[in-house]
Symmetry: C2
Subunit: 656 residues, 2 copies
């Protein structure tokens, strides 16, 4: 994979960024004083605030803008629900155990690691440049055999590369075959591993004191929403289509978590279930609003041909050419795209990739992932799946609950059909114990067959029907027992199970990817990192710095702080003794977009300087104008360039 | 318990309120189509929005107002952490099993249920009025023996009543004794139950694929905050005091959940850990802001004397008289009080009750609960505990992590003390293998003992020291080996473990209690329920109703809706064919504080009527004035009375 670059075109130095994020407490490994637990992270104050702002933006962008019905469902979920949904049987990864050391590997990761190691060794042996990736480097250090500089035959190199490109598509048997074929071993010890077995990724627990009600921590928020469907439909006054939404934690008991915040065991999700009538091509009433937005798409066909180049097209075009299956799916893809940009993702590092057929979750009929490019590669941050009627159907079947829509037809439906009347009184005595079976066989006859039999009956006064398990499998019924006629039936109501389009957001992955996208460092110094969050999602909006510890500054700073707080603008005072430049640098790392300096002139004439994080340019004006400028920037109504045009520039004073 | 009344003085009819809350989808039993799971509830759209608004208010009232450091810690918690914190051993309830039926009872609930039943039977036998409580009624129906109309001896009635008053204070042994003494049996079958055993209330699971890392779902958010203490202190630039805060779900595997939303297995908490220097009496710099607020307190002494009357006093008085232990505890009690009022709790149904010594959690040194009066009795909604240095100390001891504060003393501390010097070179050869033990015994000598020995040494040239396990337990040391002198030591830094004041909010309990407090029904009709939420926390702020389905109304309604949305004001359009009165009634039940009617005059002159939920009074004005009025009410800056004075009244048109 090519090295990723920052927004200013510098090579992205992940260790430096990571150290910034930890030092500034965006996130921190959970339970670190106890040695930590893999895959569990806490957010510190800036991470927590960033998360709250992204969630707030999500609520406005989706729930409020589209009148979605937000629900808060429990995480604890009884076994039966997840058995029915298919998660108990299918929500699993493949793991291999080394019987000697007891180590457990995720099978696809093991294959990937070993083959990548050999390809690196091959490159080294061929004298080619080897990409240095921190993670792979770490692996390399702990390995012996696989990364040795050994030249491989050209054909094997090609096989390895093809295998790696398709690594997400293999099931347990296929992974087992690859492990045998390529003699893949425990990288550390060289010991053989056992064949892959399925490991269910749900955390199990038991509910109540008697231990006989098994439960899981939900792997997605979706099931709770499906089970509430009927009540939500009623709350929505029976009006379709509509969407529910849920924000909350979900859980995956990863076999071996890696890649920091990107693969964790407990994570915040925001999921939408949009319920839509499957008839009429899943049109969307607001599709016209999004049809001209151009999006980078990577569809299934392109991937099948082994390529990964993105095609840019308008969503109107994508739906017209059936690249994207329906208006509703297309509508949400664009809405997701706009949301990601709003929270700071770089559109040049974004693509929508369609899932391969065998890569999809067990419930999905189609799925497009919004992927963001990071130093870990392309990361799935939002999935937009068409779950068809799968979930509502299985739950309804299992429980008998009517998870469906009944609507009065505007025009009654007239159906011309062949109907069968049986003379039940004579039927029983004639067929005795076989009566039910014969009746069922007759009821099950297709329209075509009924038409044919009606003619037989007319002609011969009797018909012959196949009934397995009765006599010789054929039963004769005379016209004294049966009548078959073509009639018209009128249907006034229609009953259907809605299809579900599900945009599902992994908030933690979005946060991390955005942090990579907005990170850069000031020229000349890698140490001076900046996180250029869009002001509406920045953790703190304004830094207040008195020029020095002079007593006259204190009341001014405090008054400004209170005023901003009343306007709902989060701010921090830094009255430490560090230089103004140092204090601003600290807040560049926290991504604070604006800074106010209180100096001697402020005491004299009540004006303040306002500094822009990204350009470090400053303007000077009175309190009212400064606060108005801040407000408009924080609400996303103006940009710094606008403010700079409106207020006089200030050029003195910032020094390191 | 006396019947509770609504805010308008009507008797509160809980079944009617409950049915309203479920019908309007404030909450709903989770997994109901699967038969439900006791103690698990989902929030529907209005409940979810109410919860979000209460959380938002909480963040502003506490986190922003006091610059708290919010963190988001994981729910999954490894065994070792909760072992150290004491939860593995002590976070338990007592349960009794009926060995014949397999039924499991929570021991205190069983005793309570049976004794209450007998007291009811006694009242009936004495011809006294029996309070009918829905829950107890339900229990009564399924019981046989205990609720029979049997008169009890006066002395036994008194014993039962005293036992019930102290039911929260009994441990397992005591509950076992009560069960024997009063011959308490399975109420349904009359079968004997086994003695109480402890049942740990944490949900257990295992983390990772190898099943050897046991974990729990956290029972409180606090532990994550404690473990991050050192990083937060650093983030706060080593400045004390400070507070961390965390909002998130916690879990309790209740033995037998009851009382609806009040005792559930998964619940949202908002917890603050305020870290304070234990020296100097735990003063609080902002105490003067709250000292004149009068609060209803029920302290430990009053309860011990068997009474429950509340004493109203200012917090200044309460701290001065040591009713409340410190300024910091008092400060938070008032801040909690103000918060609860802000979200709609009725101050007349609120009290702060101090925990009895044996009722406190294992970590608490003192605790005051904010209790709200509901139809279920007084409900603990916020706990305000002084956890002293308990948690930081145990975690630090276990892990060796320095969970403490080191600060440079403004004035170095001069300590005059008796110091011991040993001549280590001679010491070893003389005592050989006992050297270490003798040395330790000497180091451990108290200051008093050192002073005494210094005189002995001066006088006799030798001293005698007790050293267990060495010789006859006494060791003689000569002045060639030891010197004891009074000297002055200068300490420049001070190291201490902060104490923790913890306000912990059960958000679900607050939501339910507030819903009882704001509920009433319009005169003459119990069917016309109203939820008078304060506008800032109401789920939806404005209902938009066109007078009829006339085409001219549509664009006006849509424009108003968009405008309000842009102002960040949630609104709903009800253009159903129901009468205006019916549509408003529906929204009274949802607690929507304001309504706008669009009528023919609106089309003509652009004016609209604005309706107040509580008084049903209306005013009429143009769009701009109406929107400004709404904004100021929703932000809590004005009340309806202000708006009614400013804008002309409108008196026509509302009809059922």
């Amino acid at each position: 994979m090519a090295t990723t670059t920052t927004k200013t075109g510098q090579p992205l130095d992940r260790p430096t960024l990571d150290s910034l994020l930890r030092r500034r407490l965006f996130y921190t490994p959970a339970f670190e004083v106890y040695g930590g637990v893999a895959g569990l992270y806490d957010y510190g104050p800036p991470g927590c605030s960033l998360q709250a702002n992204v969630i707030d933006t999500w609520r406005k962008h989706f729930v409020l803008e589209e009148d979605m019905l937000e629900v808060d469902c429990t995480m604890l979920t009884p076994h039966e629900v997840l058995k029915t949904s298919g998660h108990v049987d299918k929500f699993a990864d493949w793991m291999c155990k080394d019987p000697k050391t007891g180590e457990i590997f995720r099978a696809d990761h093991l294959v990937e690691e070993v083959l990548e190691g050999r390809l690196m060794g091959d490159k080294e042996a061929r004298g080619q440049k080897v990409e240095v990736d921190e993670e792979k480097e770490a692996k390399k250090k702990r390995k012996t055999k696989d990364t040795k500089a050994v030249k491989l035959p050209d054909s094997l190199v090609q096989e390895y590369e093809e295998t790696l490109a398709k690594i997400d598509n293999y099931g347990g048997d296929e992974l087992g075959l690859l492990i045998n074929k390529y003699e893949i071993r425990n990288p550390t010890t060289g010991g053989e591993v056992l064949p892959p077995v399925a490991f269910n990724l749900m955390f199990q627990t038991s509910i109540g004191p008697s231990s006989n009600l098994a439960g899981y921590l939900r792997p997605e928020t979706a099931q709770g929403q499906f089970l509430t469907f009927q009540k939500l439909l009623e709350f929505n006054q029976q009006s379709m289509p509509f969407a529910s939404a849920c924000i909350g934690k979900s859980f995956r008991n990863e076999i071996s978590p890696r890649a920091g915040l990107l693969r964790v065991r407990e994570f915040l999700m925001a999921e939408i279930e949009h319920f839509v009538d499957p008839e009429g091509g899943k049109k969307h009433p607001r599709f016209h609003e999004v049809k001209d937005v151009k999006i980078g798409l990577l569809d299934r066909k392109v991937q099948l041909s082994g390529r990964t180049e993105v095609t840019y097209m308008t969503m109107g075009e994508a739906v017209a050419t059936r690249t994207v299956d329906s208006e509703t799916l297309g509508y949400f893809i664009v809405r997701i795209y706009l949301f990601l940009i709003r929270v700071g993702a770089d559109p040049k590092k974004m693509r929508f990739r369609q899932h391969m057929a065998n890569e999809m979750a067990h419930y999905a009929a189609d799925c497009w992932d919004a992927e963001l490019l990071t130093s870990y590669g392309w990361i799935e941050c939002v999935g937009c799946a068409d779950r068809s009627a799968y979930d509502l159907t299985v739950h309804s079947k299992k429980t008998g609950a009517p998870l469906c829509v009944r609507e009065t037809r505007t025009e009654p439906l007239h159906i011309v059909e062949w109907q069968v009347d049986l003379d039940k009184k004579k039927f029983g005595p004639k067929f005795k114990k076989d009566g039910k079976a014969v009746e069922a066989a007759v009821e099950a006859l297709s329209q075509d067959m009924r038409e044919k039999l009606a003619i037989d009956l007319e002609k011969t006064g009797k018909i012959e029907v196949d009934v397995s398990d009765v006599g010789n499998g054929k039963v004769e019924i005379g016209s004294d027992l049966i009548k078959i006629e073509e009639r018209t039936r009128v249907e006034h109501t229609r009953e259907y199970t809605p299809n579900v389009i599900e945009p599902a957001f992994g908030i933690g992955r979005i946060l991390y990817s955005v942090m990579e996208h907005v990170y850069w460092s000031r020229e000349g110094s890698e140490e001076r990192g900046v996180l250029s969050f869009p002001p509406p999602i920045a953790p703190t909006k304004v830094l207040l710095v008195p020029l020095s510890g002079h007593q006259d500054f204190k009341p001014l700073v405090q008054r400004l702080s209170n005023k901003l707080r009343q306007l709902g603008i989060s701010n921090r005072i830094d009255d430490s003794s560090a230089s103004i430049g140092k204090r601003y640098s600290r807040n560049d790392e926290l991504g604070t977009p604006l800074g106010i300096t209180v100096d001697f002139q402020s005491v004299k004439d009540g004006t303040f300087t306002l500094r822009d994080r990204d350009s470090t340019k400053q303007v000077r004006a009175d309190e009212e104008k400064i606060c108005a400028a801040i407000m408009s920037i924080v609400e996303g109504k103006k940009e710094w360039a606008d403010v700079q045009q409106e207020l006089p520039e200030f050029t003195q004073q910032e020094a390191d």
